[in-house]
Symmetry: C2
Subunit: 98 residues, 2 copies
DNA sequence: ATATATTTGCCAATATATGACAAGTCATCA
DNA sequence: TGATGACTTGTCATATATTGGCAAATATAT
């Protein structure tokens, strides 16, 4: 799967029986773009993520999390030390939270 | 600390008693840029990371890891679900490795 | 075949990142 | 105190990447 976020919203859109051409205008974009986002060919903006959550009536935290995870994967893809780097980054984040 | 990678190379440079104006030309950049990279004000390119490892004679994996961690931190900074997103991303990476 | 839904390819517009340079600060010391 | 050396800061033009939008192509279903 190319994009967790895209996959998720495609499923949600399907469940609610919405078409690309119906959802896209609500997000002020054209169907082609939304199609690309769903297939992970293009990244959504955070603003778009939040809008989608509202429209599809789902918890925005969940969508934002998937969307962030996609971006992290993009950063570390093909990197031998991907997992290690993520652990190092986690430590920083935990430290900053304190 | 704004950048793990930058911090690390500044330490290494210090230990080897190299000046910005000495190291920078070896990396084909000017001192201002290197200074910004060391302070995390600007991101190094991967190519630069590898070059620095060679010149400072350190293991490139370690530097690449720090550099990746910086980028991950950049992606998730200010995000409430940063840690969760990282865990989700980790799962994907682990899965892809199989 | 026709109609509808989605995908693809392309390009112009926009945004972001980069490199280069000049001027700035700061500490040291003659 | 003022000259020097190391580093930092600000700016700007340009390179690079991302985006939006459209038209055409490809499914998919009737």
């Amino acid at each position: 799967m190319k994009s967790k976020f895209g996959h998720k919203i495609r499923i949600l859109r399907g469940k609610q029986k919405l078409l690309l051409r119906e959802l896209a205008p609500l997000l002020e974009m054209d169907t082609a773009q939304l199609s690309k986002i769903e297939r992970g060919e293009r990244q959504a903006k955070k603003e778009t993520v939040l809008k989608i959550a509202k429209i599809l009536n789902v918890n925005s935290d969940e969508l934002v999390t998937l969307w962030l995870a996609d971006q992290i994967c993009e950063v570390v893809k093909d990197e031998k030390n991907a997992l290690l780097a993520m652990m190092v980054a986690e430590e920083s984040v935990k430290y900053l939270k304190k």
